[in-house]
């Protein structure tokens, strides 16, 4: 990894997203703060229902935040935007979806699926769009002959490549990948991850990688934020998150990863996370604090002291 002065690309500032109103209000994402640096892979991990996808979709500007804002390159991107900015952002921020079986238009041919984002734009002619599609297909290692076929003719891995090509054709800077490999077979997963990392190297892409599979994230992400019930409970570099998880929820997640080693697995004691048992917030509510450099945990004063000791290896 190249050491660099991190340059902030995306900032999430006190973001809350809710659905419904009044009595039915459900807050899916609550008071989230973090920044994603240019060129890094930022992981979001959490169980289903923790708000990972809601967060991703809010960054994609598909949901409007209830409170707080998201800034891209220093500029606010949530809420109402001038049309020109809106268009530019659509190009810059793209998404790769979870299920390649349902995220492609079954009735359109591959070339249309890939170029759809470019069509109808005044600055791109049809020929240019096709050229762009050609190069996008080439960069995901799909032959151009596939362009005139329909999605059902492809395997899951190939379909996910089409999904990636569709994002690439817009020449994005930032890609939100929402569980891009969850629906794929083990051997195809490695291929898609390798493709994503080579694209990142070539194009200097920044990824936000949403997943529940921690074992992949350790390998793939630079920094990881763990989400629990809509709140970020811990944020650290991928390595720290695995070797030294501080929050009991993250610790339970890391513990639950099945290791490919029968001797370890058989002796492992399974820990379940129960927030009512783990935390006593009756005296003081927790806040998000930096325990050691770059390692943030949701904790109150008492817990922070404990976590600091653990981080320093005193406990």
């Amino acid at each position: 990894m190249i050491m660099r002065q991190p340059e902030t690309l995306l900032e999430i500032d006190n973001l809350s997203v809710g659905f419904g109103r009044g009595k039915k209000l459900y807050i899916a994402v609550q008071d989230i703060n973090f920044a994603i640096y240019k060129g890094e892979t930022f992981g979001i991990v959490g169980e289903s229902g923790s708000g990972k996808t809601t967060l991703g979709r809010t960054i994609m500007r598909l949901y409007n935040p209830m409170k707080g804002e998201v800034r891209y390159d220093g500029k606010r991107i949530t809420g109402r935007l001038p049309k020109s900015e809106d268009k530019a952002l659509t190009r810059k921020i793209q998404m790769i979806f979870q299920d390649p079986m349902s995220s492609l238009n079954e009735r359109a041919k591959v070339d249309y699926i890939i170029t759809e984002g470019l069509l109808g734009r005044k600055d791109v002619s049809k020929e240019e769009a096709l050229e762009a599609a050609k190069s996008a297909m080439a960069s995901v290692n799909l032959p151009w002959d596939f362009a005139s076929r329909y999605p059902h003719e492809f395997s899951g891995g190939q379909r996910q490549r089409i999904g990636i090509a569709r994002a690439l054709v817009m020449e994005p800077e930032f890609i939100v990948a929402d569980e891009p490999i969850a629906a794929l077979d083990m051997s195809i997963r490695a291929q898609i991850l390798n493709l994503m990392s080579s694209l990142q190297r070539e194009r200097g892409l920044t990824y936000m990688f949403i997943s529940h599979d921690l074992s992949v994230m350790r390998y793939f992400c630079d920094r990881i934020a763990a989400l629990h019930k809509g709140k970020v409970v811990e944020l650290a570099s991928a390595e720290t998150m695995f070797s030294k998880p501080l929050h009991p929820y993250t610790a339970a997640l890391v513990n639950a990863i099945p290791q490919p080693d029968p001797t370890i697995q058989r002796s492992k004691h399974h820990v379940a996370y129960d927030e009512t048992l783990e935390h006593d917030y009756s005296k003081q509510q927790p806040s998000f604090r930096e325990i050691e450099t770059g390692h943030f945990v949701l904790a109150n004063d008492k817990e922070a002291i404990k976590y600091e000791k653990i981080a320093k290896g005193q406990l």
Binding site: E47, S48, D185, M186, H212, R218, A256, D261, P262, A272
Partner: protein, 342 residues
């Protein structure tokens, strides 16, 4: 250790008729399963893991037919059963299956308890109250709290992990002797997965269940399996105890599987991928099916299929590399590194 065989498959061949073409899905497979053990079957998708398990229950599609071979269960040969009524005596009562996706394997219009009770009443002839009680007991067994109340709730009121528990409770309600789990946790979160794996292990101990566990996740295999069978292109290529497969594997395909685990990836390096694609099973395969993708392939691999070589009492490997004439080969780092991993 002397173990009692509960199910034994011998020289089993299964074909599918697809648009007039014949697909050889299970290619001359032999395997015996011991009472009370947990056997894991691993392999890529399309290797025939699920088809193999479905053959044990006669659940394959109508365009499939058994070429040859036997499936001996007790006094019976399951491969000979053709009548659906005969199968219904086996399914659920003797051998039960838990499918992959808990979201689709329950009927959304029927309360979950009724669905458990249905299995009980069909297979054990219980009706009314006794059936309900049996069903509630089954729900309690799989760790569903407040089972009496949950009995009348609908599937949509359950989370993914809870639904999978319900599916498992349907499977074990009739006290089958063999439980087949076909990737029961791939759709679930890691923490829920750990709970379900623990549950299956507990049930196995408590009821003396024999479990066949199909998965492609080697981490899961390490958690549950006593023995592992590695499947490739419709045949088993390596069979051994979990330790033998993880620490002393001898087949290049097993090495490739172990190497491609993301857990072992190094940051900044590409993950290992197995080059090429699995063979086309419409065509007859000359030699070893894995040879074209195998960097260690010998010349003979392309000509003649290897026999099973016995490494230990429990460890069998189908690879010419174990022949005494084969050159000594250094297994790849990932398969080696595993041995030193603490």
């Amino acid at each position: 250790m002397d173990q009692e065989t509960i199910l034994s498959v011998e020289n089993f061949n299964l074909f599918f008729n697809l648009r007039g073409e014949r697909l050889h899905a299970i290619r001359n497979v032999s395997l015996s399963i011991n009472r009370g053990e947990c056997l894991a079957i691993v392999g890529e998708s399309g290797s025939g893991k699920s088809v193999f398990c479905r053959s044990l229950l006669g659940l394959n599609d109508k365009n499939s037919y058994i070429g040859s071979g036997t499936i001996t269960y007790g006094q019976r040969d399951l491969a000979k059963i053709t009548a659906e009524e005969e199968w219904q005596k086996i399914r659920g009562k003797e051998i039960a299956i838990v499918m992959q996706d808990p979201m689709t394997s329950l009927n959304p219009l029927i309360p979950v308890g009724k669905q458990v009770a249905e299995a009980v009443s069909i297979h054990q002839g219980l009706k009314g109250k006794p059936a309900k009680q049996r069903a509630i007991q089954a729900l309690v067994d799989v760790g569903i709290d407040n089972a009496a109340k949950r009995y009348s709730q609908y599937p949509h009121e359950f989370s993914g992990g809870m639904r999978q528990r319900v599916v498992i409770s349907i499977a074990i309600a009739c006290q089958p002797r063999i439980l087949i789990c076909d990737e029961p946790t791939t759709a679930l979160d890691v923490t829920i997965q750990a709970q379900i794996l623990n549950l299956v292990k507990d049930l196995q101990k408590k009821h003396g269940l024999t479990t066949i566990y199909v998965t492609h996740d080697l981490g899961v295999v390490a958690t549950v399996a006593d023995r592992v069978a590695v499947m490739y292109a419709g045949e088993f290529v390596e069979i051994g105890t979990a330790e033998e497969i993880f620490f002393e594997s001898r087949h290049p395909y097993t090495w490739a599987l172990l190497s491609s685990m993301p857990q072992l990836g190094t940051k900044g390096e590409d993950l290992f991928t197995i080059p090429g694609a699995p063979p086309n099973l419409f065509m007859p395969i000359a030699g070893d099916a894995f040879a074209p993708r195998n960097p260690f392939a010998l010349k003979i691999d392309f000509v003649e299929a290897p026999p099973f070589f016995q490494v230990s009492d429990t460890h069998f490997v189908k690879s010419w590399l174990l022949d005494e004439m084969a050159p000594d080969i250094q297994p790849p780092e990932a398969a080696m590194r595993k041995r030193g991993l603490r």
